[in-house]
Symmetry: C2
Subunit: 117 residues, 2 copies
Amino acid sequence: MGVTETSHDACAPLPEPAVGEIRLEAVLHALADPVRLRIVSSLAGCTDEVNCLAFDVPVAKSTLTHHFRVLREAGVIRQVRRGTSRMNSLRSDDLAARFPGLLDSVVAGHRASRHPV
Amino acid sequence: MGVTETSHDACAPLPEPAVGEIRLEAVLHALADPVRLRIVSSLAGCTDEVNCLAFDVPVAKSTLTHHFRVLREAGVIRQVRRGTSRMNSLRSDDLAARFPGLLDSVVAGHRASRHPV
DNA sequence: ATCGTAGTTTGACAGGTCTCGTAGTACGAG
DNA sequence: CTCGTACTACGAGACCTGTCAAACTACGAT
């Protein structure tokens, strides 16, 4: 019986807004937090997926869960279940399609303000 | 006595951060509110200064004062006293210098999402 | 089957934000 | 000087947010 694939697809991304549903205010609000900005900046750096606990932000696990949900529900990131982990990736293409240049300028601005050592 | 000009210059802008002091998170937070986003979008449209009550946002006067202060303290707008009015203008150049492309993409995104009639 | 790892859920708390109405200030016009 | 206009200041209330700890679930490894 091929129930495993239909009932709960282990590789399907968690609930997220469609490209056309992404709201500007939600994205700006999601990016306006230092912890989330740092996460996004990190994600923009590496090309492939990263699990949730791989970020060196000084917050508790549950707080991290909260921030990842805000980012996902705003349409900034995508989360996919992979074993016991959640792999996160930026929705760069979707964001660029809806708000061209926004993500790039934010990430660039964040890097610049964290004055390169 | 020429006290009038030195003690309180009627044309000096109200307290605002210097260009180098503008923080990305503060700007994003300032833009993440529907009322303020609308104000900024309006200001981006007309080239010259606009007084505070010239915006058709559905909020009380005191609320408007609050929003203008948030925008000014974030470094998004400049306020200058002119008679009994406060003339507001976008700090487009300063923002472009510090976070290139940010303001443009936000304003463009806001206009686009308010689906053109 | 047992254990450890990764993450979620819940409840709680402190603090911030948006909103308003009312009262007050500053300025120009008459 | 008096009046109206434009805006600010000061609470106060409702709501939202970021944070944590503790208990829980889901999965893989042994």
